[in-house]
Amino acid sequence: MNIEELKKRYKDEWLLIKITKTDKQDRPIEGEVLLHSKNRDEIYEAQKNIKDYLYIAYSGEMPKKGFAVAFYG
């Protein structure tokens, strides 16, 4: 299934997607959801021993107001 459709289907969740089709730049076009969860750590744990090309993403949108980010590193 199309990656963007998967994100809409499992909105506001962390997704672990097995990529089944990519474009010339190796960007995922299609895939299948192996796991979806509100808990990111579950996704991290589940991907540990899988050798396939996996995409890990959050399907929600960042709030534009009342939310600020400061990173470090």
Partner: protein, 131 residues
């Protein structure tokens, strides 16, 4: 040259990168484009899934955070790809960002310094190319 459109109103410019290991394992993760970050940062467990052992790294970096000073391992990933451009033997810091950050890591200067990058904030356009 490759380009992406981003929302100038968004609190974070989130982009997807692909990480590749020597063993051919690949992970694609969403990270924040952060020209102010010294290093690209990836989650510890993603590094492990790629076959790396962050805890064995002899190189450490100091992270200055809001809650204090931490150290984190620095490792070399076989390849990082972004918008069709790649960097081999790319240094990355292994450290987990808080879950509510919507991204799993940072794309920092250790990757970006290899390219010519331009950002048009009013139009929301980011471009990257080799010189």
């Amino acid at each position: 040259m490759a380009k992406i459109n981003f929302d100038p109103q968004s609190p974070v410019i989130a982009v997807d990168i692909t990480l590749e290991s020597e063993g051919g394992i690949k992970r694609r993760i969403r990270v924040a484009l952060d020209t102010g970050a010294t290093y690209t940062m990836i989650p510890w467990e993603i590094a492990e899934a790629l076959g790396y052992k962050p805890e064995m790294s002899k190189e450490k970096v100091t992270l200055i955070t809001a809650s204090g000073v931490e150290t984190a391992p620095l490792i070399e990933i076989k390849k990082i790809k972004f918008l069709g451009e790649g960097v081999d033997n790319a240094p990355v810091v292994c450290h987990d960002l808080p879950p509510k950050g919507y991204v799993t890591g940072l794309l920092g200067s250790s990757f970006l310094r290899h390219f010519k990058i331009t950002m048009d904030y009013p139009k929301g356009i980011f471009e990257i190319s080799r010189e």
